[in-house]
């Protein structure tokens, strides 16, 4: 009996070595694949060892993605759609819940233009894991391509409570593909987004999409043109004309604080100090980009009007945002 157990342990050790060897090969290849996934670039050289890969063991990656689905993505990118579909089908069995293979199938069918299958797999992937960016984009793309714009709202409603800024951006961008289909719900989301997300580089695209949804593409593009013209006039030191153009740009796109700020600065430069004040106040009180620039300009406007009490107040406010030029004027305005 002891001899049998010992023999069994020896066999177990050999098996252990063999299975760990298989796992090790898979892990080495997976490390390349994960690098590709993270960087969003599927490199040709990552595929060189696919022939050595045993897709049955292990059949899931280190993060539970089906290996067949992951490898299938490379075949899809190499335009071998049949092979990609075959692998994706296997991947759906290996892990039926992660929806990676379903998403791959949606991509393949999109490439092949098989309408029903695109929608079926995109819906399946999104229903399985709704908060996945790709699944959301896949389904939005499917609905847009087949004219089902009215369903975009219901897709976003499923994920709205998660407050995911990326999904919000994709949704608003999707709405822009057919502006006349934008619903009141879409406009409400756009309005909420502008209120919720600050005007920083992180949310610039989101805010831009929301602005387009709220005011329409034509109007926003017109405001961009007007703004460009105003900037040119400002450079030519034609400040009053620049101010009028900035005002017009602000009227067309009232959520862009720089239009108001530039209108104020142009009026100030022209000598219309009193006229410049409402523009700066609009930026500070209603938009608050927290740059300190409007506070700085407003302090200068008050100083020019001899109101040093307000000049001091706003130069301090500007310095609170670390606006560099403000510090040199504190001593001058706050005596």
């Amino acid at each position: 009996m002891k001899a049998i157990i010992k023999g069994l342990l020896v066999v177990m050790s050999f098996l252990s070595i063999y299975f760990h060897y298989l796992n090790n090969i898979s892990s080495q290849i997976q490390s390349l694949i994960y690098e590709d996934i993270y960087n969003g670039v599927h490199r040709e050289e990552s595929t060189y060892r696919f022939q050595a890969l045993n897709l049955d063991f292990p059949n899931l990656s280190l993060s539970s993605l089906p290996m067949r689905g992951v490898i299938g993505r490379y075949y899809f990118l190499g335009a071998q759609y049949e092979k990609a579909l075959e692998l994706a089908s296997g991947g759906m069995i290996d892990n039926p819940y992660i929806m990676y293979a379903e998403s791959l199938k949606a991509d393949v069918f999109f490439k092949l233009g098989v309408k029903d299958s695109i929608i079926y797999y995109a819906e399946k992937a999104f229903t399985g894991i709704p908060n996945n960016h790709k699944h959301f984009i896949d389904l939005s793309r499917a609905y847009i391509n087949f004219g089902k714009y009215h369903l975009l709202d219901s897709v976003f409603q499923k994920v709205e409570s998660k407050n995911n800024s990326e999904l919000r951006k994709y949704y608003l961008s999707a709405l822009l593909t057919k502006e006349d289909s934008v619903t009141d719900y879409g406009k409400t989301i756009a309005k909420k987004s502008l209120k919720k997300y600050p005007d920083t580089s992180e949310f610039r695209d989101l805010r831009l999409s929301a602005t387009y949804v709220l005011y329409g593409r034509e109007r926003i593009e017109k405001s961009i043109d007007t703004n460009l013209r105003a900037l040119q006039l400002f450079d030519e030191e034609r400040y009053r004309e620049a101010a009028l153009n900035f005002e017009e740009a602000a009227r067309l796109n009232p959520v862009e604080f720089s239009h108001f700020e530039n209108a104020g600065i142009s009026n100030f430069k022209f000598g219309y100090y009193e006229k410049s004040i409402p523009f700066f106040k609009q930026v500070i009180d209603s938009m608050n980009p927290r740059t300190g620039k409007s506070e700085f300009a407003l302090a200068q406007a008050y100083a020019e009007l001899g109101d040093f009490e307000n000049a001091c107040k706003y130069i301090y406010a500007s310095s609170n945002y670390d606006y560099r030029d403000s510090f040199r004027l504190i001593g001058e305005y706050c005596k």
């Binding site: 002891k2 020896v10 177990m12 050790s13 490390s31 993060s63 539970s64 819940y97 992660i98």
Partner: protein, 387 residues
């Protein structure tokens, strides 16, 4: 590189085992296999009996059970050596390991405090050889009972002084790491030593509580002195961050709820070994972002229950039960032998960690469990009452 290292490590361990087994067969010194492989065999049956894919949990269980068998095999070959000697021998070995581990953490710590005041944001630098502060703290604490055992039982003055220093350094580092699981472990360890203190009047046994208490108080005092009471790394402030609304606590509770529901929905055989990481996706799909899934339950027992049902859970619990029963038998044989404090102390730490984290996936922690299982069985078989 890590994967490669892992494979080479297993190649070495298993290759070494094969040689040992073969050599033992040749020289006819067969150990008595009381561990008759039933754990492994049960594991194997569950592994093969379910349709969903076999993935890496299989390795984890397989590896540590086999590890326990290997250790037991080694200890069994020391048939004429008494238990206390084995514990001291093992303790010295662990003292060496923990010294090296602590060096890594303290290197980073001294680098930090030479330029800025330490705060909680630096804790990742103190992880040492392990991937996060929870693992580092749990591993350090698992070794503490062995260090305390040497302080009390060693005849060498040098070893006693050195071990005292290490036990203090170990606890101080645990306070610096700020792992909340570690605080729970320390709380239970204190209660455990207090209970022992009151039920056993033997002086040698009482010393365990005294040594533990002194090390704890000294390290806590120094951490207060070094950090100040307002520092976010200080134990009181770390404890105040425990909140049921907090992401880490909230996520754990959600996973436990999923695990419990899974156990109820398939109570007999569960979903199959290694399949929690698949079915958990379905249960937690509304909270999953990208493809980041609830890979582990953060509770080994619930995870085993979800994967193997009550059948597997009972077998899993029986592993600890029989080992603890061996400790109890050891205690009944010799109530004055401090070994009966050492072993349950180690398993208590492991069990608390296993209820809040997932040590079964970490070979660095399973090593200590394997040692515990094998040594408790071995010591129970040796005639301790003669010592």
């Amino acid at each position: 590189m890590i994967f490669g290292g892992y494979f080479i490590c297993w190649l070495a361990v298993n290759g070494f085992n094969i040689i040992i087994y073969l050599l033992q067969s040749i020289v006819k010194k067969n150990p008595d296999f009381i561990f008759d492989g039933c754990y492994w065999y049960t594991d194997y049956l569950f592994d093969k009996g379910f349709q969903l894919p076999i993935i890496d949990s299989t390795y984890d269980y397989y590896d540590w059970i086999k590890g326990a068998l290997d250790f037991w095999n080694t200890f069994s070959s020391w048939q004429n050596i008494n238990g206390s000697f084995v514990a001291i021998y093992l303790g010295i070995f662990i003292l060496g390991i923990v010294s090296i581990q602590l060096t890594s953490s303290y290197n980073a710590y001294f680098d930090i405090i030479s330029s800025v005041k330490y705060n909680f944001s630096f804790n990742t630098y103190l992880q040492g050889f392990f991937p996060n502060r929870n693992i580092t703290s749990a591993i350090y604490l698992t070794q503490l009972p062995f260090i305390i055992y040497i302080i009390i039982e060693s005849k060498s003055k040098f070893l006693r002084i050195y071990s005292s220093f290490i036990s203090f350094a170990l606890l101080y580092m645990v306070f610096m790491l700020g792992s909340r699981t570690a605080y729970v472990i320390l709380l239970f360890l204190t209660i455990f030593y207090l209970i022992i203190f009151f039920i056993n009047k033997h002086e040698q046994v009482k010393k365990h509580l005294l040594v533990f208490g002194l090390s704890l108080i000294a390290s806590l005092s120094l951490s207060l002195f070094a950090l100040g009471s307002n520092n976010d790394a200080f134990v009181v402030n770390r404890l105040q961050t425990i909140d049921f609304e907090e992401t880490s606590t909230n996520t754990r509770l959600r996973y436990y709820s999923h695990g419990f529901n899974q156990l109820i929905s398939s109570p007999i055989f569960g979903v199959g070994l290694g399949n929690w990481k698949i079915v958990s996706i379905e249960r937690d799909k509304d909270n999953i972002e990208s493809y980041i899934i609830p890979y582990t339950m953060h509770n080994d027992f619930l995870e085993v229950g979800a994967e193997l049902g009550l059948t597997g859970l009972l077998i899993f619990i029986s592993i600890y039960f029989f080992a603890l029963r061996d400790c109890w038998n050891l205690y009944n044989k010799s109530k004055n032998n401090p070994l009966f404090i050492l072993l349950p102390g180690v398993i208590l730490i492991y069990l608390i960690d296993a209820n809040l984290n997932f040590p079964y996936t970490r070979s660095s922690q399973l090593f200590y469990l394997a040692v515990f299982l094998s040594i408790s069985t071995y010591l129970n078989k040796t005639d301790e009452s003669n010592n």
